[in-house]
Amino acid sequence: MSVEGLTAEPLRRKYGNFRRPGFRLFRISLLPATAVFVTVVIAVFALMLEQWWVCLLAVVLLAVVELPLLWPSPGGARYVRLGRWGSHRLAQRAGRNVLLQGPVGKTPDGLLRLPGLAAQTQLSEHTTSLGDPFGLISWPKTAGNLHTVVMHAHPTGTTGRDQSTVDGMVAQHGALLRLLGEQLDVVGAAAVVQTSPDSGLRLRRGAMRGVVDDAPEFARAAMEGTLAKLTSGSPALQAAFTITFKGTKPGTNTAISTEEIARDLGARLPFILGQARLTGAGATARWATAQQIVDHTAAAYNATAAADIEAAVLDGSGTGLTWTDVGPGHAVAEYEDYVHDGALSRTWVWVRPPQSAETEDILAGLLQPHHRIPHKRVSIQYRPLTPEASQAGASQGVRETNFGGSVGRFGAAKARDVQFAKKAEQEESEGAVLVRASVMITVTAFSREELEDAAQAVRQVVRRSHLSVRVARGMSDTAFLATLPLGLVIPQFLPVPDRVRDQL
């Protein structure tokens, strides 16, 4: 390439600036650091008071128990890992990690509900003020009486688009997240992009629509031959965006009825959809109906029946499934893998975003169909904070990073953290909201070998996207659920509030 060519290359807009919330002292969070600090203080006092046994005890506690347990690592500190493993073993011994439901199952109602956290969900359908139907998933037993709407997206991708157009769409995606933060009652949103081998049913149905009986044999052979080549080995991509709303009266914990929530959402959803369509989710993106949510979820749990479900949907007869038919009849939450109705799934959750600023297509390699990972679901989860919380969070971010920077050597990493926090504060003052983001990847396979092969490929793809991930151990069932487009927001189920968790 000529020199002009190199210099003429326009600078791409880059994104990043991710910061781990919470105070950090020598890479250790506040609460573990405090525990260590208290032990050290006790040891020193004991030394001064010549209480040798106490001093020895404190030193042993520090060296043998606290430091090994609390020392951070990418997969979580050792006490977290022990917790996962221990609780899994306990559940396994009690048979609680197995789900046997349906008419001959062990659950009381004999239905095929979604497992675990989603067993409580209810599904209803309502219409927006523009008359579009939308399915509404209620989580009645969560703190905050959550309700989720699902948008089916039809992204057109970056193919053939100029960078300026793509930048515009990405900025609109930011604007959508900001809009969600400004709704004040949005507790989480997630984009789910699912790739799977195309069954060819849609193609065949589309191509064979309107075929006349008296077509010459050559024409028929040409069509059949082409379809045969195209129906095998083509990938299919499905995309959805979920938004989960709090269903309580503002400032209180009084639950609002689902009808009332639906009425309120019906008025707001058209505007949100209008914004969402600008983000690259496609001009034809629309809210999923209740039946669509049912069919998609059923196909995810019962992966072997996915083709039958698709065929039933396509030929117009419908699946006839209801919300209490979609769960697996038999599922086992193993330590790493989730076995559900003859399929195996493993979920990875990110540990760290890309370290440096990256262009908007950084996830493209992860999102796009991969021949070694036939069934894959990538969920990008966003928890936008309200503008007030963002303001407080931005200034707290500056405090936290300054604190971390004031202890020990002020290296490049710390300088970057401080700079990120300051930039975030500035962007916040310009109107952006803070967003807590995470990425989860679920891979489904039909045998252990297939799963191991796919897992190998996931590790490569993830590395190309500059992410670090770990397998969601000890919670394979919940993690599987979290990457489905159902709007599960795990932090809402945790007894520990965010601000405490950030310091762990």
């Binding site: 609780s87 992009v193 191509a207 995470s438």
Partner: protein, 538 residues
Amino acid sequence: MSTYLEEEQEELTPTRAQRRAAEARSRKSPLVRAVRRAEPTARGWSGAGGGRANWLESPAEWLSTSSQVCGLWPWAVGQGPPPIGVPLGRHLETGQWVCADPISWFVAGLINAPTCFVLGRMGLGKSRLIRHLITCMRNYGVIPLVMSDTRPDYVDDVRALGGQVISLGPGQSHVNPLDPGPLADYIAELVERGDEQKVRECLARIRSQRLNAIAGLLEIVLEARIGARESNVLAKAIDIFDDEGEDIPVIGDLLRLIESRDPRLRVIVGDRGVVDDAGVLHYDDNKYDDRVEDLVTGLATLDVGGIFGDTFGCPTDERIRLGVPFVFDISSVDEDDTMRMAAVQYLTWSQATQALIAATYLTQAEILAPSKYVMVGDELYRALRALPLVVRRVDSIIRMIRRLDSGLILCTHTMADLNLDGVDGPLTKIAWGFVERSDMVFMGGLSVLEMGNLQTVWAMSETEKRDVTGWSDLGAIDPDSEEVATPQGQGKFLLKLGRSPGIPFSSVISDAEKEVGDTNARWQGHRDRLFGHDEDEQ
């Protein structure tokens, strides 16, 4: 220490307290306990086999602002187009299938007119694509009418589809421009029905078709526009033959009639004669001859003894059959013989259009079963280049095809082909109009020089330009085996809909189609001699 999550925590604490209180209350009542058993808890069914969610851990959350987090953009990979129409191939970036054809997409409301344009350099699979389109569209009951085939590319496919092949050229089939065409075969049926209005319409249509055909040919050979008086003479002459009810006239008959200075023609020519003192009418032969001189020259050129041989001068051998695919094979016409090429192209285009008009008309009259047609104009530039005068006629033919709601597929190598008389010339504008009015465009490999032209019409993005120009590169040669790699752009097209982003795909065709008529078949023998092996043709 105030944190941004204080509000949330305040809410959480009473919730938990409330929940615990409610749980405590409910434990007391056996009835409540029984009802609660049929309801899963917030974490699912408890007990063995209940699959209760066990360990819960929030995924690692990282904080940034909405204007940065959007960089984790979920829509970087797109879905393919909807499965509407003929399956064409695979999306180049995602590998998803791509379907499209002008008629299906028009019916589905995706484009405004059932027309498409194919642009691309030679040898990259343009004809292949069109052949695939028309072959597969035949399944939808769409009948392809190939207006002229110069290679021949479509002959084998049309035959395989049970269609009709009419070969034109020196020593081959004859087409008489004065032939009333396929409509004439159905007049008897109309008369039988006693529908006089329809019969009149039908006759008028046939008359104007014949007149257009002969006038257009004359324009081409005379390289000038035919004036009103000359047109009138032609019209009158055709009427005379019709009135006398003889056989279908040929150009020779017309020529002889005009040369014979028939009194009925003299009136039209404007030679009314002078009555002398004796009351005898005297005509001015010189005046008549002067005025029909061009006509006579033109007709003589078209006649059997003229430069075209017997192509136009003899009675039509084979009329176009309605309701089946057909192709005019003009591959034996010498490309450098512009006038012959122009005349033949013009005639085939107008005859094909006549067949379409006839079919539409007869369908409306409920004589023919309704079908849809797609007209194929491959190598459009040849028709246009041959003689600029044709441009206006081609333009009117294309407008006619559009009016008749027929599908239309046009094809040319480059937009520059359509620069007929300079960048801003009136003919160029007409020719560009063909492309601009096509909502659906397939672009194969094109040269960099084309990009300015394309930009004007379709607002191509940089990526699209890079793709389309990259596809025009030649295939590399493997130094060891001396095998030529498939050219990069072989079978690759960008499906562009108006100004929206295009869909790049690599075409896929069935083996059945591969067997029928290889475009490069004529080179196969030579290739075998040189390299001694068969090349796997796309």
